[in-house]
Structure formats: structure tokens, C-alpha cells
Amino acid sequence: MSTMSFSLRIWRQDGPNLPGALQRYTVHGVTDDMSILELLDRLNEDLIAQGQDPVAFDSDCREGICGTCGLVINGVAHGPKSQCTTCELRMREFRGGRTVDGLLEITVEPWRAGPFPIIKDLVVDRTAFDRIIAAGGYVTVNAGSAGEANDLKIAKPDADAAMDAASCIGCAACVAACPNASASLFTAAKIAQFTHLPQGAPERARRALRMVEQMDAEGFGDCSNHGECEAVCPKGISISNIAVMRREFAKALLGGG
């Protein structure tokens, strides 16, 4: 199959709080099997060879599980393919797309949210997510104090529901895609994981209250139930988890947490 040529519009910004702008780059000879990050690798090799500053973007595992990568591609977090991280997005997905002067055009922007300041170009600071987890996204159990694993029986549907919620990779596409820049799906997924499990039940109320409080303190927007988050989530985490978070929160409020 023939190769493709792309006209890329990429957000360039030298550092936090500095002005930025979209800049245009051209890359030829792109094959179907390349990922969009490998396309950027190629572009960067060209830029470095020309002595120019390469485009800063972050990625790590490049197999869709670490949650490091994340670009808004043509206005959609992680690009056009559903349940797929940026690093797993192959260029074949862009065949037949919009062209400008005979080149396929792609616009690449960073996650945009106040709590995620831009570090450089396409790299943002997501430590707000760590602080939300620190507020209660765990079971309080010290190493060595656990009982025999099989003494705790958990029905398969509950374990499966917990796993569905726990599969969150913390990429923050949910925030990037949310019209309100809300972190509800991320926070809810962790709260819901523990709601489905007996472990950590004594701290359920505290967890819901503290995690929500931290989420708000970080400056994320409120949820308007648009559901864009679920649509861009690489793991397809359902917004039903957000309903679970609200139930937990309501119970905690009524119970006095």
C-alpha cells in the first residue's frame, strides 16, 4: 500500500505560562503501521538533524497501559479510534481524512485543563491525579497484616465490576475531553473499584469525601453528564461509575462520614 503524507499542525509552547501557537510541519513517507507517536519520532529526527528544537511529547510503555501519552488529535482526546491510547493509534486510521494541498491534515494539541499546566509543547503536568489518589484511593493495610487470601470470597460479578473500574490507566483523557474539564470519571473509577469490593469498607465514607474534596481543590470542573469521558476512555470505563461515586458521597454525607 502506498505511503501517506501529512501536514501536521502541532501546538508549540516553550514552557509553563508562556505563549504558544500551532505550527505546521510536513512529514512524508508515512506507512499504515506507524503509530502517531512514531510519526512524531520521525518528525523529531528531522528537526534534530536540522538543529531545530524537537516537539516535546511524553510517552512510555507505548502499549496502551502506562497512561503517559495523550494528545488531542483533531479535537478528540487520543484521536479517532475508540478505546485506543495515542501510542496505539496507527496512521492507517487517518486514510481518507481531510486534506490540505493534497496532504492529510492533523491537528495535535495538548490536554487542556487548568489543573494540568503545560510543561512544554504537548507535555502537561498531571500530578493533580496523584494527589486525588493520595486523598483516599487505597485500602489502608500495612504489609504483613493481611489474612489468608481465599478466606475472603468475592462474587465473580463483583470482582469483574471492580476490575472494570480498576482498569483506569490515569491518562486523563477524560479531563481533556470533558467540556467542563471535570475529573469525575477518574475519581469515580477508583471510588467505584472499592465500592464493589469488601476490602476497605470501613473507610468508604472517608474515601468518597476526601477524594471528592481533593478533586475540587485541584480546580477541575463539575460534571454535566455529557459522557464524553467514557467515549474517549482507552479502557472504556463507564460513566455508571460516576453514579456509584455520587451514591457513595450521598451515603457519606448522610452518614456523617
Binding site: V72, E213, R246
Partner: protein
């Protein structure tokens, strides 16, 4: 940890408030429509219904209900505005290109316009109340009591094409608001799960459609039907 007030007014607390008040308002709208539809039965039924409401509990009920409705409206509006304000703060730099994620997203014209449809309704409702509560309809005799002839007031108004157009517009916005609002309030109250979510959205589309059609039925019926005329031939 935070105070109770902060918790209640947290992002999730506000959703609970918004959902709860929304639920109350939707129930109110359903009862309101049912009452309004008595107009189709006839002048007597409609006026008796309004007389009944105005005098229930020696006239106390109506004030109680109004107070409740006003506070529900107020909370619903204030929480809605708060969502909008935080949203503006949470993303100060927007995207150059906006695409739709498609798939399981529930984003719609309705969900994107909640603030605007809400504002229009917030403007409409006081006008509507002023119009019909304090519109000063003629007094008629009903089983030996003096009663307000709301039937004639409504019919007279709905013979005016401008009023019909404005009212119909407002009802379309009500439908638009409820298209997202009805399932969203269930989600906000944490009543949905993965299985119930899709039918809840369908339910919202149907109920919001029926409510809008129901409310639109009245002005069109009055305006287009020359048989329907005020009892007392005009208002002061």
C-alpha cells in the same frame, strides 16, 4: 476535613442538589401539564381545578407549594451557574479544533445548551407566573363561590399569535432542557448503572418529547379552534 457546608456545595454535592431539585421540578411540570390539559375538557373543569388548588388547605397549600418551587428553582439555577463558572475557570485555554468522540458519549445539543435553555426558562417562568397568577382574570361564580376565570384568561391570551409564538418557543426550550435533564438528574442522583443508563436516556427523550408536545397542544388547540372562546368576552 471539610465542613458540612463545603461538602454539600462540593462538585458532587451540587450534582445531588441539582438532581434532586431537577426531579422535583420535573414532577411539578408533569402535574402542571396534567392540570393544564383539563382545559381540553372544558371551562368548568379547568376553573374548578384552579379553584381547588387555590383553596386547598384553606389557601395554605398554594403558598407552601410556591415556596417550595421557588427554592427548588433557586437552588437549581444557582447550582447550574456554579457549574458554568467552574467550567470557565477549569479550562481557560480552549482547543483550536473540537471534535466529537462519538461512541457512548451522551453529549448532545441539549446537554451543551443546558445553561442557555435554563436561562431562557428562568426568564420565562417569572413572566409566566406574573401573567397567570397576577393577570387579574374576571371573577365568576362557581357553586356559590367567587372564582377566578382562568379559563378565559388562558383562552384570550392564546388567541394572540405573539403570545402563542413566545409560549411555544419556551416549551420547545423546556423540551430541550429536559431531553438531557431527565436522564442526567437520575445519573446525578446516582440511580443509574451500566444496564439502566441507555434506557434512562431513551426515557428522557420520550418524556421530554411528550411534555413539550403536551404543553404545545394547548396554545395550538386554542388558537386554531374558533369554537374555543373566553366565557366572559374579554378581559380588563
Amino acid at each position: 476535613m471539610s465542613s458540612l457546608g463545603t461538602r454539600v456545595w462540593s462538585s458532587v454535592g451540587k450534582k445531588l442538589i441539582s438532581g434532586l431539585t431537577g426531579l422535583g421540578l420535573v414532577i411539578f411540570v408533569c402535574i402542571h401539564l396534567t392540570g393544564n390539559l383539563l382545559l381540553l375538557v372544558g371551562a368548568d373543569a379547568f376553573n374548578r381545578y384552579s379553584y381547588f388548588l387555590e383553596h386547598l388547605g384553606h389557601g395554605a397549600f398554594i403558598y407552601f407549594a410556591e415556596a417550595g418551587l421557588v427554592s427548588f428553582f433557586a437552588l437549581h439555577i444557582v447550582s447550574g451557574i456554579s457549574v458554568w463558572r467552574r467550567k470557565a475557570h477549569a479550562r481557560q485555554v480552549g482547543y483550536a479544533v473540537r471534535g466529537d468522540a462519538g461512541g457512548p458519549s451522551r453529549k448532545s445539543l441539549s446537554s451543551r445548551s443546558m445553561l442557555y435553555s435554563g436561562i431562557l426558562l428562568a426568564v420565562y417562568v417569572p413572566l409566566h407566573v406574573a401573567h397567570f397568577k397576577y393577570g387579574g382574570p374576571p371573577i365568576i361564580q362557581l357553586d356559590g363561590h367567587e372564582a377566578r376565570d382562568l379559563y378565559s384568561l388562558v383562552v384570550t391570551e392564546f388567541k394572540n399569535p405573539l403570545i402563542v409564538a413566545l409560549y411555544s418557543g419556551a416549551m420547545l426550550f423546556l423540551g430541550l432542557h429536559l431531553r438531557h435533564g431527565i436522564w442526567s438528574m437520575l445519573q446525578s442522583l446516582g440511580l443509574l448503572n451500566r444496564r439502566l443508563l441507555p434506557p434512562a436516556v431513551t426515557l428522557a427523550v420520550i418524556v421530554s418529547g411528550l411534555l413539550a408536545v403536551g404543553f404545545l397542544l394547548l396554545p395550538l388547540y386554542v388558537y386554531l379552534n374558533p369554537q374555543v372562546m373566553p366565557l366572559t368576552g374579554g378581559l380588563g
